[in-house]
Symmetry: C2
Subunit: 448 residues, 2 copies
Amino acid sequence: MVEKGLKKTNGLGVQVENTKICVVMVGLPARGKSLIAQKVTRYLKWLSIEAKVFNVGTYRRTDTPKPTADFFDTNNPAGEKMRRAAAEAALSDMLKWFRAGEGTIAILDATNSTRVRRRWIYDECTKEGIDTLFVESRCDDERLIMANILEVKTTSPDYQGTDPEAAALDFRNRIRNYEKVYETVDGDGDEKDLTYVKIMNIGAQVIINQIHDYLQSRIVYYLMNLHIKPRSIWLSRHGESMYNLSGQIGGDAELSSRGKQYALKLPELVRQSVGDGRPLTVWTSTLRRAISTGAHLPANYNQLQWKALDELDAGVCDGLTYADIKEKYPEDFAARDEDKYNYRYRGGESYRDVVIRLESIIMELERSEDILIITHQAVLRCIYAYYKEKSQSESPWMAVPLHTLIKLTPKAYGTHEERTAAGIDAVSTWRGKGSVAKHEDPVGEPTF
Amino acid sequence: MVEKGLKKTNGLGVQVENTKICVVMVGLPARGKSLIAQKVTRYLKWLSIEAKVFNVGTYRRTDTPKPTADFFDTNNPAGEKMRRAAAEAALSDMLKWFRAGEGTIAILDATNSTRVRRRWIYDECTKEGIDTLFVESRCDDERLIMANILEVKTTSPDYQGTDPEAAALDFRNRIRNYEKVYETVDGDGDEKDLTYVKIMNIGAQVIINQIHDYLQSRIVYYLMNLHIKPRSIWLSRHGESMYNLSGQIGGDAELSSRGKQYALKLPELVRQSVGDGRPLTVWTSTLRRAISTGAHLPANYNQLQWKALDELDAGVCDGLTYADIKEKYPEDFAARDEDKYNYRYRGGESYRDVVIRLESIIMELERSEDILIITHQAVLRCIYAYYKEKSQSESPWMAVPLHTLIKLTPKAYGTHEERTAAGIDAVSTWRGKGSVAKHEDPVGEPTF
C-alpha cells in the first residue's frame, strides 16, 4: 500500500502525534485505582499508543519502604514532607518521559486526594502543553473495599512479612487518615472546568466532565465499560480445515474429518471447563470453519457471528500456500517476515489492521460476562495479546495449536490461563520465520 | 456466506432481538430534547435498529393546537388534565408499537419533568418488559437556550401565524411554568437505581448512571460525542480512475488523466467552499486513487488515512466488470440486484458490512468540526445515507457523480446540502438494476 509519508496510525485508526495526556488518578486507598491504571495502560499499548504508569507509592517506598498508618496522617509533618517528595519525583520523571518525545499517555497513580495537590499537577502539566484527565474512583460498596483491602494486605510490598490481620488493621487506619482530608473532584465547583471522570463503584455511575479530545473520549468509553464481576473468556480456533491440510491460507474451506471430530468434542470440553448450568454466549467469525466448529454446542447457548472475528485477509495471497507466496511474491514474503505485525498483504490486511477491527470486540468483551470465541489463528493471537500483554514483535509468531480450548480469567493483576487439549490430532499451522514448510512444529521459546 | 439460521445482525454487529428500550427524554422546554431524540433515531435507523420518536406535543396538539403559556400552568386543572391525556395517548401508542414486535427503541419526547411522571412511565414500561433509559438535557448556557427559543418561535406549529416577538414572550412564560415544578432526575436520590444519562449544555458534562445493556451503552457513547458547534462535512469521491474507464470494480488503480485534473482542481474547489484560513482535516481511504486525489491539498491540512473508508470489498469479483460478473456468477449477479444492501460478495462485503465498519467514522464525525472525506462510491453512499436519512433500499442505488464536491451542514432538523461540480468530464459509474453496461447515465428519480 502507498503510505504517502504518513505516520503509522494506531489501533484507534487515528494519529496521536501531538497528543500528550496525563491521566491523574484520584481516590482513597483501596478504590481500585491501580487496577484501573493498569487496565487502561494495557488497552492503550495494545492499540499502539505509548502509555506508562507512574506510581507515587513506588517512589515513596525508596525512602520509606514500610510505613505505618501514622506516616499518612496529615498532622505528621515528616511523613507529609516525604510523601510530597515522592509525588514530586514521580511527576518529574513523568515530565522527562514526555519531553523525551516517546510518550502519549502517562498515568499518575496516587491518591491525589486534595484540590491543592490536583491544582499543582494541573499547573505543572499545562506549563508543558500536557492535557490532564482526572479519573476519580469512588466506592461506597463495603464488599468492593474489603476485597481490595484483602488484596493489598496480602500483596502490597508495604506489608511484606507483616501479619495479615495487623496489615489489614493498619491499612484501615491509613485509609482513615486519608479520609480526614479527602476532597472529591469538583466538590465545591472550583474544579468545574477540569476534564474529569468520576467512577462510582466501578461501573455503577460515571460522571464525565469537559471531554474534548478524541483519545480522552476513548479512554472514558473504556472506563464506562469496565466491570469487576468474576468471569472468564474461552478461546478456540476452528477445527482443522481442508485448507489447513493442504497448507493453504485464507479461504472459506470446510472442516477436515478430524476438524469435525473436534466440533463434536467441543461441547464436552466446554461443559467441563465452564461447569453445568452456567450460561455462555458464543461468538464465531462468519467463516464456515468457525461456524461449523460451534455447530454442536448446546442450543441454549446464544450464538453470534461477527465479521470482525474473520481471519486476517491475505488479499492477493488468499488461497495460496507459503511456498506459492514465496515464489509469486518473493519481496512480499520477505517483507512480512521482516515486520509481521505491520506487513499488510496486497489488497488485504496486517496484524495492525486486525487489531483496529478487534477494538470493538475487546470493548464488548470488557462489558460482557462469560463468552466463548471461536475464531482464527491471527485473530486469536491479537485477542490473546490483549489479555496477556504480548508485544507486537512476539504476538504474530505465537503458536496457537488447533483443537485446544483456552480459558482466560482476568484477575486484579494479570490474566490467569488454563488450556485443555481435546486429544484429537491436527496439523500444525505454525510457521517459523523464512519457512515455507506446509506443516512444522513450533520451535524456540515455549509459546502460549 | 453460510448463515446458519441466525438473524441478520445490525450495524453494531450484535443481535438485539429481545431488546426493548424506551428512551425517556427529560428537560425544560428549549433544552434540545427533540434535537437529541431525532439524532439518536437517525443514528439507530442507519444501524438497522428499529427506532421511533413518540412526541407528546404532537398528541396534545390534536386537542389543543395553539395553547398559550397558562395552559402549562400546573394551577390550571383543565390544562393539566389535557396534558396528562396527551402523555397517556403517546405512551399507549408506544406500548402498542412494542407489542406489535417491530420496535427496538422508542423515544418518548416530552418534558417528563416530575418524579411522579417518570415513575409512572417506568412502571408502565417495566410491566411490559421494556427497559427505560432516562436522558435529561439540562442547560444553563443562555446562548443555547436563546438559540432554541428562536428556533421554536419560528418553526413550532404552536406558534404558526403568531407574531414572533409575542411567540417568544409566550414561550418564555411557558418555560417559567415548567420551572415551577421541575425536578431533576435523582435530585434527592430516590431515582438512584434508574438507568439515566444527564447531559449538561450538550456535551460539556455527562452523568451516566446504572448502564448495563450494550445498546444503552452505545446510545450513551453517541450522546457523549454530540456537540452543537457549527461545522460542515465535505465529501468527494476519488478522481476518475483507470478502472472506472474500463468499467472494472474494486482494485487499487491509479487516477486517469482526467482524474489527475480533478486532483489538481480540488484545492480550489475546497478553498471556495470552505473559505480562506479555516482549518480542515482530510480523511482518505488507504487506496491509491483516494490518496492521489488529496495529494495537492494544502500542506497545512492534516491528512489521515482510514482503512474503514476503503471501497466495499467485492471479494472474488474484485477487478471484474459487471458483464464479467453476470457471466461468471449469474446467481450472485441476480441476488445482488434483488437485495443490494444485504448482498455480500463471496469473500467480500455487503453494504450492511460497510455500515458496520463506518460506525466509528460516524462517531468520530459527530465529535469533529470541519472534515473533508475523499472516498469511494459505496462508502460515500453509506455516509450520505446517515446524514440525509436515506433508506436501505434507496442508498445503494444513489447516483454519486465523480468530480463533484458535496458539502453537508448539519442543522437542528436535517442536513443542508450544496454540491459543486468541478466541470471536468468523467465516466458515469452508476449502474441500473440488471444492467451490465460499462457506463450509463443515472435514470429514474433525481438522486442526491
